[in-house]
């Protein structure tokens, strides 16, 4: 098998692509973008219905569209793209062939069939159960079968990735440790195996329930195990998009991680503690003990939050060190001012990083605090939070990476570079605002997954305060702006793929070229910066983050202390 493949060295990036891996990355990425397009079209329906002044769709259509939007975005778009990233981090970064390409194609086929099956089930009606599909509310058997097939495919892709690592090790394509980005991808893969297994444990019995093979699935057990799948799958995203941030810092700035030990240690904390977070979906549930909630929702004393706070420092820190080495040493922030803000690869990544930390990270800890959860659970604050993590964090990172991949992997010149330059700003900032106003409305209590905040037809309706209506109107406006930003991304990506000028694919070779040993670093990073700090500007940004975090944390406790006594 290893003799039948070829290796292409990209003249623009120096990366080496193995033929099978390249094709697989391409198809997985393209299908991902198609699901993003579908999810984006559905987003129009969601946003224009929740915008009170528009209130577009009928209730049944709205719930159907919302179900499909959630699954297409959170599962299909993201995981297809992640499979492409896994192949990139193994085969391309380690310069070896992909293990068992036939299984990788099987994985792709299963995922595609599963994705289509699930969508068809939802659009046929009768499966508007939301992404969470809590029993005893039942969807059609095809709904669950689609998800199960997709999960099996994704699991196979994980093992193809792991097999590729073994091949690289065996063929000695690199020396020493794998690159940090590959290390992050390994962490994502380990989390993915755990996640998909949890999904199988609960979705298979639910599928049996839907075809009448078994009579009962306990609703609380379902919620507990489903979230080990539902939340952990978002942890895969975190590990992947943080790896992408490191990769983009390396690609754009040639930035070296400040300390491999710190960054990899932080990734290891993810493996150990990130999964516990699925508990924070059960904080408002009966039947789960306080100690269990506190230990798990804090990711065991917030060690996973610690890991994210570390990455949040080390990535901009690495960029700062690299920029200071290039001579941007004036003041605290010259390195940041002189960053290539016109390059969507960088701007997308940096907007993603800041938004993920400030909006997604801080709000996530609020919701995950056992008592504070009671003023947030199932309000629209929750989608406000996860649009900051999954859209600003994951999706925008994937978009930024795509702009790098268009010439490198797709071998096409990007069409409309001006639009591409604008895209991360339009998409990122309208998403920031979107998340903020959703959190605002959620703080006022507005429900998520709710067709009509005016409660039309209710016997004793509740009247939301005017501010809640205002916030939901702003959700509508910023949502439309964000959808426009997403449309530009799809236009640029698909357009480049179809009409972009073909670029020189580079030299083909029947044999691989191993990665030359990395020369020992000679410079001690501490010689740059000031006050003995290699990255003083980043440190100041981190302190700003901490102050925002602490203030907002205690504001929420203050709010909680004013509500009814509960014990």
């Amino acid at each position: 098998m290893s003799n039948t493949t070829t290796y292409r060295t990209c003249p623009r990036s120096g990366l080496q692509f193995e033929a099978q891996a390249e094709k697989l990355m391409l198809v997985n990425a393209v299908v991902a973008v198609v699901f993003l397009l579908l999810g984006g079209i559905l987003a129009i329906g969601v946003v224009l219905t929740r915008w009170p002044a528009v209130h577009w769709l009928e209730a049944d259509t709205f719930y159907q569209v919302l179900t499909a939007h959630g699954i297409d975005m959170l599962i299909f778009w993201i995981i297809f793209f992640e499979v492409a990233v896994l192949y990139f981090c193994s085969s391309t970064l380690l310069r070896c062939r992909l293990a068992t390409p036939r299984f990788a194609w099987l994985a792709f086929a299963l995922m595609l069939v599963g994705g289509i099956m699930n969508n068809v089930a939802v659009f046929q009606g009768g499966s508007s159960v939301m992404m969470t599909s809590y029993v005893p509310m039942m969807a059609s058997p095809w709904f669950y079968l689609g998800l199960i097939l997709f999960a099996v495919g994704a699991l196979i892709a994980c093992f193809v990735f792991l097999g590729t690592l073994v091949i690289a090790k065996r063929d000695k394509t690199y020396q020493g440790s794998v690159p940090l980005v590959t290390f992050g991808a390994i962490v994502a893969c380990i989390i993915a195996v755990f996640t998909i297994t949890s999904g199988a444990i609960i979705l298979i019995p639910t599928f049996f329930l839907s075809i009448g093979l078994i009579q009962h699935v306990d609703p609380l057990i379902y919620r507990t195990i489903w979230w080990a799948f539902g939340h952990s799958s978002q942890q895969i995203n975190v590990a992947v998009h943080i790896s992408i941030w490191y990769a983009i810092a390396a690609i754009v700035f040639n930035a070296k991680p400040m300390s491999e030990r710190v960054s990899r240690g932080a990734f290891l904390l993810y493996i150990l503690f990130l999964q516990l977070a699925s508990a924070h979906h059960l904080l408002a549930d009966p039947g789960v003990s306080t100690a269990w909630k506190v230990v798990n929702t804090s990711y065991f004393m917030y060690f996973a939050v610690l890991a994210s706070m570390i990455h949040g420092l080390t990535i901009p820190g690495a960029i700062e060190v690299a920029q200071r080495q290039k001579g941007y040493t004036n003041g605290l922030f010259e390195w940041l001012r002189k960053a290539p803000w016109g390059n969507p690869v960088f701007s997308g990544m940096f907007i993603s990083l800041i938004g993920f930390g400030f909006l997604g990270g801080i709000s996530g800890v609020m919701m995950g605090t056992e008592q504070l959860n009671m003023i947030i659970h199932n309000t629209i604050y929750v989608p406000g939070h996860f649009h900051a993590t999954v859209v600003v964090g994951t999706t925008l990172s994937f978009m930024a990476l795509t702009y790098f991949l268009i010439p490198v992997l797709f071998k096409r010149e990007m069409i409309a570079p001006g639009l591409a330059r604008l895209q991360p700003y339009l998409f990122g900032f309208s998403m920031y605002f979107f998340c903020l106003v959703m959190m605002g409305a959620g703080t006022l209590g507005v429900s998520r997954r709710h067709w009509d905040m005016a409660f039309n037809g209710a016997v004793q309706a509740y009247e939301w305060p005017g501010a809640a209506y205002l916030m939901m109107g702003l959700v509508g406006i910023s949502g439309v702006a964000a959808i426009a930003g997403g449309a530009i991304y799809i236009y640029v990506t698909v357009g480049s793929l179809l009409w972009g000028k073909r670029l020189d694919p580079g030299k083909q070779s029947a044999t691989l070229t191993p990665i030359p040993p990395t020369p020992a670093s000679t410079v001690v990073v501490q010689s740059y910066g000031s006050a003995g700090f290699a990255a003083p500007g980043t440190f100041v940004l981190a302190m700003v983050f901490l102050v925002a975090f602490v203030l907002y944390y205690f504001i929420n406790w203050k709010y909680l202390s004013t509500v009814w006594g509960l014990s």
């Binding site: 609703p219 030990r261 610690l306 605090t369 009671m374 947030i376 014990s567």
Partner: protein, 179 residues
């Protein structure tokens, strides 16, 4: 030299720690421990902690207990649907049913008094979202969740269902009065 290449030193766990990173790790760790202590501490000093008292139940069993309380403490009925309004004595057990698509019955509490509120769902998952106080609790079928509530302000409160439960989810609103 970069994150997409193997590190130059073979043993990555022996890499030196930069001072800016070391400082930040210490600060972040301290903050993490404070947040952890806050959650535990609120159980000791705080007044808003969600009870974990839970029993397995069935729709029939729960309905029977709820009906008994309604029979005993109903003071009037409201709306065309004649929903009973109950005014139970302080400290007593009060049952609230969530089902497609209403909450039953309407409850009248007294400000500053405590009540044992029992919640369950007769069918799907529902949400107990008390507005405008903004207290949100999950209601899971088959489980009877007992929460001691102490209203601290009088007024008319709505209980909005905030867990998606089907086509008429948006009409599922209950009521609690606090005198």
């Amino acid at each position: 030299m970069s994150a997409i290449l193997p590190p130059s030193e073979r043993l990555w766990w022996k890499h030196p720690l930069d001072r800016v990173e070391g400082t930040w790790i210490v600060i972040a760790l301290v903050w993490c421990l404070i947040m952890f202590a806050m959650m535990v501490g609120w159980h000791i000093y705080g007044k808003q902690n969600l009870s974990t008292e839970t029993y397995k139940t069935t729709p029939e069993l729960f309905m029977k207990k709820a009906q008994a309380v309604v029979d005993k403490y109903t003071v009037r009925t409201e709306t065309d649907a004649n929903i009973p309004v109950i005014a139970p004595p302080a400290g007593s057990d009060v049952y609230m049913i969530a089902r497609l698509w209403n909450f039953w019955p309407i409850i009248e509490f007294e400000k500053g008094k405590s009540y044992r509120l029992h919640l369950t769902s007769l069918d799907y998952n529902h949400g107990f979202s008390l507005q405008p106080a903004n207290i949100n609790i999950q209601i899971v079928p088959g489980y009877e969740h007992v929460i001691t509530v102490t209203p601290n302000q009088s007024g008319t409160y709505s209980v909005v269902c905030n867990e998606y439960c089907g086509i008429n989810h948006h009409t599922m609103v209950g009521r609690i009065y606090v005198k």
